[in-house]
């Protein structure tokens, strides 16, 4: 690849979907782009024109319109447009206009199709028109993201390079100036062709090896060599390097296999940086997997509480890496369960084994695998039917208190409605629990429905899973057979309505009032969850997660065709907006909450939010109609 195009390549690689491309693909794109300038206000794409290229905004801003001339989206540097039309008819579906003076990089259609054919992630990105935020792939779910992330993402600075003729003192001084622990040693002489490259000045070099702090200690100081020793005398002849587009995982294996802590990162044959073991560790420390294993290694509740910032780090990083709401929700629930389980293990170590078997049950968002970073704890204890309060309750009350206090210290605040195992009402044998649930379903009175949105999402965290399964079976069997209960649940799910619409700085309400913020949980995701739950109970689904419930609902005729997919999309969108705003709060050192100020919502988000709220509103109307109150005779 020509050095002169490096700048274009690096610009492209900054943004999705190009950031995931291999170096070879990036080169091929950079070498074939075409460039065009558009003055502010001029048309870039007109409806019905034929379109031959993918458009990439190099600088400026562009407005995209609907067919009817309404504004659909605003894009800026690094955004792409035109892919939708390219993939379909090659006729422009969405006209585009330059909002500011704009420079466009055109990526020719054949290059675009090549990328779609050869790079799955690129194809996914353009097919589903996912936003930058959602540029993640489901595979991250299956495999850890170390497999996915390329080494170049972890390299933040150019390497220190020194000629082999320099003295070790000079080397030490340069390392000191640049505050680095290693330097790459270059030779002007011809050497191993695999390591020959030319620098931007056209000088041809051979990379001989790498010298680290440790080498200065072991090969200079320890052996009593003088400071004028040539670097060439202490550089080891064995050179282990990694290509910039290899995965972090590969790099780590290479370090382990070769027992080295520094890896020169090469782009083709040109050194781009040095990867140090600490870079990988720093990167991994923020991953949820590492966090989970870390939780189980904590010796006490205090150690667990210290991990609170790590949870937030992991959350922000998942969002930055474009995880979808399902991934973020599962990861946070897994983390929450791990805290709970570890607290239970620690409590059992302290209090001894339980006198009768128990199941510690998660309720609400943790049970649904939809936990967010702003959450309180909802839990309960199901005890074996041999439970005798006089003999055993002291043990379980203490156990519950240990867990509840521990969770609060880890950031899962106490439940305001007191739905916790510390509350005696929710620390009962299985038989009592079965009576509770039967009564709630048979007599759906308002006070019983109060808990429906919490107790009808239930899952085991620790102990006898069979206890929870029996309750889930009971709910799935009874609820679907009880029209009265379903109608009451449906009514209950309508208690919280979405706002009418979003405008620049305020939210319109149905009564004409204007609010300056909106609670996206109370007015968006929570009513959506309630609505999905009502349908799920009606079709006897045993799933707890909203997306899985939608899968079960889709197998029935409960919803009109296509509605399920729309609900899924709207729910995903509302969830991800909520998640992203919380991540922004954390990045800006604010305590995250569920409130969104319309002024902070981008134009495209505002548009989708309006759609999602409208859809929720329609789905609520349908719910009322679908589960009417049985007429009393």
């Amino acid at each position: 690849m020509d050095i002169e195009l490096l700048e274009i390549r690096e610009q492209l690689a900054r943004f999705a979907p190009f950031d995931g491309l291999s170096d070879a693909h990036l080169d091929s794109v950079a070498g074939r782009i075409e460039v065009g300038y558009f003055k502010a206000g001029s048309d870039i794409l007109q409806l019905g024109d034929s379109i031959e290229d993918l458009h990439y905004i190099r600088s400026g801003a562009v407005e995209i319109f609907w067919r009817n001339g309404e504004l659909y989206n605003r894009l800026s540097e690094g955004d792409i447009f035109g892919h939708y039309s390219l993939l379909r008819s090659r006729k422009v579906h969405f006209p585009a206009k330059a909002l500011e003076d704009t420079l466009i990089y055109f990526i020719p259609g054949d290059v675009f199709r090549e990328l779609c054919d050869q790079d799955e992630h690129f194809a996914d990105f353009v097919e589903f028109g996912r936003t930058r935020l959602k540029a993640a792939v489901e595979e991250q779910h299956k495999s850890n993201d170390m497999m996915m992330t390329r080494v170049r993402k972890l390299v933040s600075r150019r390497p220190l390079m020194i000629e082999e003729s320099a003295s070790v003192q000079e080397l030490a001084q340069r390392m000191n100036e640049e505050n680095v622990s290693s330097a790459l040693v270059l030779s002007m002489a011809e050497g191993d062709p695999r390591y020959q490259f030319s620098d931007p000045d056209g000088q041809s070099w051979t990379l001989k090896g790498i010298v680290t702090d440790q080498d200065l200690r072991n090969r200079v100081l320890a052996e009593g060599r003088s400071v004028s020793t040539r670097v060439s005398e202490i550089v080891s002849s064995r050179l282990i390097s990694v290509q910039s587009d290899e995965s972090v995982h590969e790099a780590m294996l290479s370090m382990l296999r070769n027992n080295v802590h520094h890896l020169p990162v090469l782009y083709r044959r040109r050194p781009m940086g040095v990867l140090h073991l600490s870079d990988i560790i720093r990167y991994e420390t923020h991953s949820s997997l590492y966090l989970v294993s870390n939780i189980f290694h904590q010796p006490d509740a205090l150690g667990l509480a210290r991990l609170k910032p790590d949870v937030r780090e992991a959350f922000v990083r998942m969002v930055e890496e474009g995880a979808n709401s399902h991934m973020v929700g599962s990861a946070l629930s897994t983390i929450g369960r791990s805290f709970t389980r570890r607290l239970l293990e620690l409590a059992e170590e302290e209090l001894g084994p339980p006198p009768v078997p128990y199941c510690f049950m998660a309720l609400g968002s943790m049970a649904r695998n939809e936990q967010s970073i702003v959450t309180d704890q909802d839990n309960a204890l199901i005890l074996d039917d041999r439970f005798d309060p006089a003999q055993h309750d002291e043990y379980f009350a203490t156990l519950a208190k240990r867990v509840s206090d521990g969770l609060d210290a880890c950031g899962y605040s106490y439940c305001k409605g007191d739905v916790m195992a510390t509350n005696r009402q929710w620390r009962q044998p299985l038989a009592v629990w079965k009576d509770y649930f039967s009564e709630w379903i048979d007599q759906p009175r308002p006070e019983h429905l109060l808990h429906s949105s919490i107790f009808f999402d239930l899952d085991s965290v620790h102990g006898e899973e069979a206890f929870v399964e029996q309750l889930q079976d009971l709910v799935a069997r009874k609820a679907s057979q009880s029209p009265l209960f379903l109608a009451a649940m449906a009514r209950n799910a309508l208690g919280r309505t979405p706002p009418l619409g979003f405008f620049r700085t305020f939210v319109m309400e149905k009564d004409g009032k204007q609010n300056n913020t909106i609670n996206i949980k109370r007015r968006g995701t929570a009513p959506m969850v309630d609505l999905i739950r009502a349908h799920a109970l009606a079709c006897g689904s045993r799933a707890q997660n909203s997306f899985e419930r939608l899968d079960d609902i889709a197998k029935t005729q409960l919803l009109p065709a296509g509605t399920g997919d729309k609900i899924r999309y709207a729910f995903e969108f509302l969830s991800i907006v909520r998640i992203r705003h919380q991540a922004i709060d954390l990045q800006e050192d604010r305590e995250p909450d569920n409130n969104i100020a319309p002024g902070n919502v981008s134009d495209s988000e505002r548009h989708h939010l309006k759609d999602a709220f409208q859809l929720l509103s329609n789905a609520q109307k349908f719910l009322k109609f679908r589960y009417p109150m049985p007429s009393r005779r």
Binding site: D2, E4, L5, E7, I8, A30, G31, R32, I33, E34, V35, G36, Y37, F38, K39, A40, S42, R58, S59, G60, E100, D101, T102, L103, F106, S198, P200, D201, G202, Q203, S204
Partner: protein, 240 residues
């Protein structure tokens, strides 16, 4: 701010000159270049095939300094085609002057293996033929190329160019507005490539590489025409 030329610019009579050179030239490649480069001055800029050219040289005086590298990017008013870019390093006949190294970062070792300009001249002429050349500051590219061809083929090689710096100067140096600014004691507006680009919202590029500067020049002309002229403006009004 409209630009008002203060005096009628007397552009050289390029069509006559080019026709004459096509007849006179003895070197077949040079003759061919002139024969295919007869662009009518009334051609609208939007229809003219263009090529942006930039050179790195060892200095500013074509009599004492030499060409080191040449970058070309063919383009039109709507598209700059990077895939058709050309870039040559050439070996100057005289040893390099040290101080220029820092400027364009081309070193002795790099040009040691580079060809003499004579070896790539035919390719260069073929790449320029039939296109209107666009440069930023015509007093480097044109005289240097002319001198290099004179010394190697004993032929003079001059042709019309659009100079984006001079287009910028018409607006910022020669207009009433510019005179008013000077009268008010304001410093003149910079018409260097990077500063000119900034005024049109074009992104910064790392300069001093012949190919990237050629790309930057092509983008600048597209922006200048979009902002100050029409796609129908005849090239005769733009070239110098």
């Amino acid at each position: 701010m409209p630009s008002l030329p203060l005096f009628k610019r007397s552009a050289p009579q390029w069509p006559d000159y080019l026709a004459r050179r096509a007849d006179e030239a003895r070197d077949p490649r040079v003759a061919e270049f002139f024969a295919t480069s007869q662009l009518a001055p009334e051609t609208p800029i939007a229809e003219a095939p263009l090529v942006a050219m930039d050179m790195e040289t060892t200095g500013l005086d074509e009599r004492r300094h030499a060409i080191l590298s040449i970058g070309l990017v063919p383009f039109s008013l709507s598209r700059i085609r990077l895939a058709e870019r050309r870039y040559w390093l050439v070996r100057p006949p005289r040893p390099l002057v040290r101080q220029s190294v820092a400027f364009h970062r081309i070193t002795d070792s790099e040009i040691e293996h580079a060809p003499d300009l004579d070896e790539i001249l035919d390719e260069l002429l073929a790449a320029l033929a039939g296109r209107l050349v666009v440069v930023h500051y015509r007093h480097i590219e044109r005289p240097f190329l002319d001198a290099a061809v004179k010394s190697r083929r004993d032929e003079s090689l001059r042709f019309p160019v659009i100079d984006t710096m001079s287009l910028e100067a018409r607006i910022h140096r020669q207009s009433l507005w510019a005179r008013f600014r000077r009268w008010m004691g304001r410093p003149p507006v910079s018409i260097r490539l990077h500063n000119s680009r900034e005024r049109y919202g074009l992104p910064p590029y790392q300069g001093h590489h012949a190919l990237i500067d050629a790309l930057a020049t092509a983008e600048l002309l597209q922006a200048q025409i979009a902002a100050r002229h029409q796609p129908g403006t005849p090239i005769g009004q733009l070239w110098s």
